[in-house]
C-alpha cells in the first residue's frame, strides 16, 4: 500500500509540475490542455477526514482521505450569459453564490477500523445546498445536505447508513470544513477539511 500511495502522490505532483504553473511569457491564449491536466490532477487531491470509529465500549477517530466529486450543480444566481447547470467541473462563482448540487465522495481510511470493524473503503452520495454568507459567498459560504454512505461492516451486518452534513467554506469555496452526522451504530460522525478546485 505504501508503494501505491507513493505512486499516487508522484502522479499528482508530476501532473501539476509538468504543466507550466507560472510564467512570464506573453502568450495569453487559454490553454485547454493544461486546464484538463491540472483540473484532473487537482481532483485527485483528497480532503483529509477524521472518521469516528466506535463499538459498544470504545471510541476513537480514524484518519481517512475523501475525494470530492460533483457530477451536477445547479446555480440559483447565474447571469444571462452562462448556464445555471454545470457538470463535474464546477465554476466556483456559480456554486458559492447559491446553488444545489449532487455529490459523490469516495473515502479510504488509512488504517483498519479497530473497533467498528467497518471496511476501509466507503462511498457517500447525496445532495447539498450552498448558501452565500459574506461577499456573496466568496469569502464565506455554508452548506447543508443529506447523504447515504455505502460502507460494508460484516460485524454488524450493515452495508450503509444515512447521514446529514453541514459545511462552511472560504475563498471561493475552495477550502472549508465539513461535519457529518451519520446514523450508524459504529461510525457516528466525521469531520473533513474540504479541498476542491473547480
Amino acid at each position: 500500500m505504501n508503494n501505491m500511495l507513493r505512486l499516487y502522490i508522484f502522479i499528482i505532483i508530476l501532473a501539476l509540475f509538468t504543466v507550466e504553473g507560472f510564467s512570464q511569457n506573453t502568450d495569453i491564449r487559454p490553454n485547454k490542455t493544461k486546464k484538463a491536466i491540472t483540473w484532473t490532477a487537482l481532483q485527485l487531491i483528497p480532503s483529509p477526514v477524521l472518521v469516528n470509529d466506535a463499538d459498544e465500549n470504545n471510541a476513537r477517530v480514524q484518519f481517512a482521505f475523501r475525494w470530492q466529486f460533483i457530477p451536477l450543480n445547479i446555480s440559483f444566481n447565474p447571469n444571462k450569459y452562462v448556464s445555471p447547470v454545470q457538470f463535474f467541473m464546477i465554476n466556483p462563482v456559480r456554486r458559492f453564490t447559491g446553488s444545489a448540487e449532487i455529490f459523490v465522495q469516495p473515502e479510504y481510511s488509512l488504517a483498519n477500523f479497530k473497533y467498528s470493524g467497518a471496511e476501509r473503503l466507503a462511498l457517500s452520495t447525496g445532495a447539498r445546498v450552498i448558501i452565500p454568507v459574506q461577499e456573496m459567498g466568496e469569502n464565506i459560504s455554508m452548506s447543508a445536505g443529506g447523504k447515504y454512505t455505502f460502507r460494508k461492516n460484516e460485524r454488524y451486518d450493515e452495508y450503509g447508513y444515512p447521514g446529514v452534513e453541514a459545511g462552511v467554506y472560504f475563498f471561493g469555496g475552495l477550502f472549508g470544513l465539513q461535519f457529518s452526522k451519520d446514523f450508524s451504530r459504529y461510525n457516528k460522525y466525521s469531520i473533513s477539511f474540504y479541498l476542491k478546485y473547480y
Partner: protein, 329 residues
C-alpha cells in the same frame, strides 16, 4: 502519523506552488491581522459641472471618471481587504455617500483586486440603472446583478489585432483594446489555464477619448497600434507591481519604465498612473510610483513630466475643454 503529515504538507506545497494568489495571500496575512488602512481625505462632491474629463483616483485601480455628463467607475473595489484577507494599505479614496450619480461600471478583468462581488452589490443597491460592462470571459466570474450587464467581445483585440470592435452603449462608444493579461480568479485559472476575461477600454464620448488600460504587461506593438488609431486625451495606466521597476514588471504588469514607454506609444495627452499604493505584492506598495518619479527626472523621460499626473489616493484632476485646472480635493 508522520507519513500522513508529510503527505499533507506535500499536497499543500503543490497547491501553493501553483497558486500565486495564495502565495501573496500568505505573505500578507500577518500584516492584515495587525494593521489598518491609512486614512485619506475624500472629496465631498466628486461629480462636477462643466467637465470635459475628470479622474478621481480612489486607490489601487478604482477610478471615478466623468466625461461631460457621464459618470463612469472603473474596477470598483471598496473592501478593506482584497479577497477577504489581503489588507489594503490605504483606505478607499472615494466617499460613497457623496457619489450621487453613476452611469457605467467597467470591469477590466476578474482578478480579486479588480472585481469585488460585495462592491458591485453595493452599487447595485444604490445605482440599479447603471450599466455593468465587462470583457468576454468575465461572465464566468460574475453572478447575476440588476444592472444592465453588457459583455464586450474582446476576442479580436486580445488574440487577433489589438483593437476590437466598438460597441455603442447608451451613447458611449466603447472599444476593447489589447491587455497583456488573463482572466480567471483563483490561481491555476489565472496562471496556468489563462482563462479569457481581460481587456483595456477606449471610451469615446463627444470629443473626449479616454484610455483605461486595465491590467497589462508591456507590448509595444499593441500600444503603438492603439496610439495610431485613437487620439487619446487621458490614459489611466497600471504601474506595478514591480521590484525592478526600472526594468520589467511582475507577471503581466507594466513596470514604471514600461508605463512611460506605454505613454510614448499611445501618445496620450496625459497619463494617470494607478495600481499601486494599496497592496504589497512583491515590494513596497509605493515603489512603482517612487521609481516613476525618479525616471521623470532623468533626461530620457523629462519631456513626459508635464503629461504624467501622479495623484494621491482620493485626489481628483479635472480638465475643462483640455485646459487643465489645478488638482486638489
Amino acid at each position: 502519523m508522520r507519513k500522513v503529515l508529510l503527505i499533507i504538507i506535500l499536497f499543500v506545497s503543490v497547491l501553493l506552488q501553483g497558486c500565486g494568489i495564495l502565495r501573496i495571500t500568505m505573505s500578507n496575512l500577518a500584516d492584515s491581522i495587525t494593521d489598518e488602512p491609512r486614512k485619506v481625505t475624500k472629496i465631498k462632491n466628486p461629480v462636477k459641472d462643466s467637465v470635459k474629463i475628470s479622474v478621481l483616483w480612489a486607490g489601487h485601480s478604482t477610478s471615478l471618471v466623468q466625461i461631460y455628463d457621464k459618470v463612469l467607475l472603473f474596477d470598483p473595489i471598496f473592501n478593506k481587504r482584497f479577497g477577504g484577507v489581503i489588507l489594503r494599505r490605504t483606505e478607499l479614496g472615494l466617499d460613497l455617500n457623496a457619489l450621487k450619480q453613476l452611469d457605467y461600471i467597467f470591469v477590466s478583468h476578474t482578478h480579486i483586486d479588480h472585481m469585488s462581488f460585495g462592491s458591485l452589490s453595493y452599487l447595485e443597491d444604490k445605482f440599479p440603472k447603471a450599466t455593468l460592462i465587462f470583457p468576454k470571459g468575465g461572465e464566468y466570474y460574475l453572478p447575476d446583478y440588476d444592472f444592465k450587464m453588457v459583455r464586450v467581445d474582446n476576442y479580436e483585440s486580445q488574440y487577433v489585432s489589438y483593437i476590437g470592435r466598438p460597441v455603442m452603449i447608451d451613447g458611449l462608444k466603447v472599444t476593447p483594446v489589447y491587455a497583456l493579461h488573463t482572466g480567471g480568479r483563483y490561481g491555476f485559472d489565472v496562471y496556468s489555464w489563462k482563462e479569457p476575461g481581460a481587456t483595456g477600454y477606449i471610451i469615446e464620448y463627444k470629443d473626449a477619448v479616454l484610455y483605461y488600460a486595465g491590467d497589462t504587461g508591456y507590448e509595444k506593438n499593441a500600444f503603438k497600434k492603439i496610439g495610431s488609431k485613437f487620439s487619446i486625451d487621458v490614459a489611466i495606466v497600471p504601474v506595478g507591481p514591480c521590484r525592478n521597476c526600472d526594468s520589467t514588471g511582475f507577471w503581466h504588469h507594466t513596470s514604471s519604465i514600461e508605463a512611460l514607454e506605454l505613454l510614448k506609444d499611445v501618445k496620450a495627452n496625459y497619463m494617470i498612473p494607478v495600481h499601486y499604493g494599496a497592496s504589497r505584492y512583491i515590494s513596497d506598495e509605493n515603489r512603482p510610483r517612487d521609481v516613476l518619479r525618479d525616471l521623470l527626472e532623468t533626461t530620457a523621460y523629462e519631456d513626459l513630466k508635464d503629461r504624467v499626473k501622479i495623484l494621491d489616493v482620493g485626489e481628483q484632476i479635472i480638465w475643462r475643454e483640455l485646459e487643465e485646472v489645478p488638482s486638489g480635493y
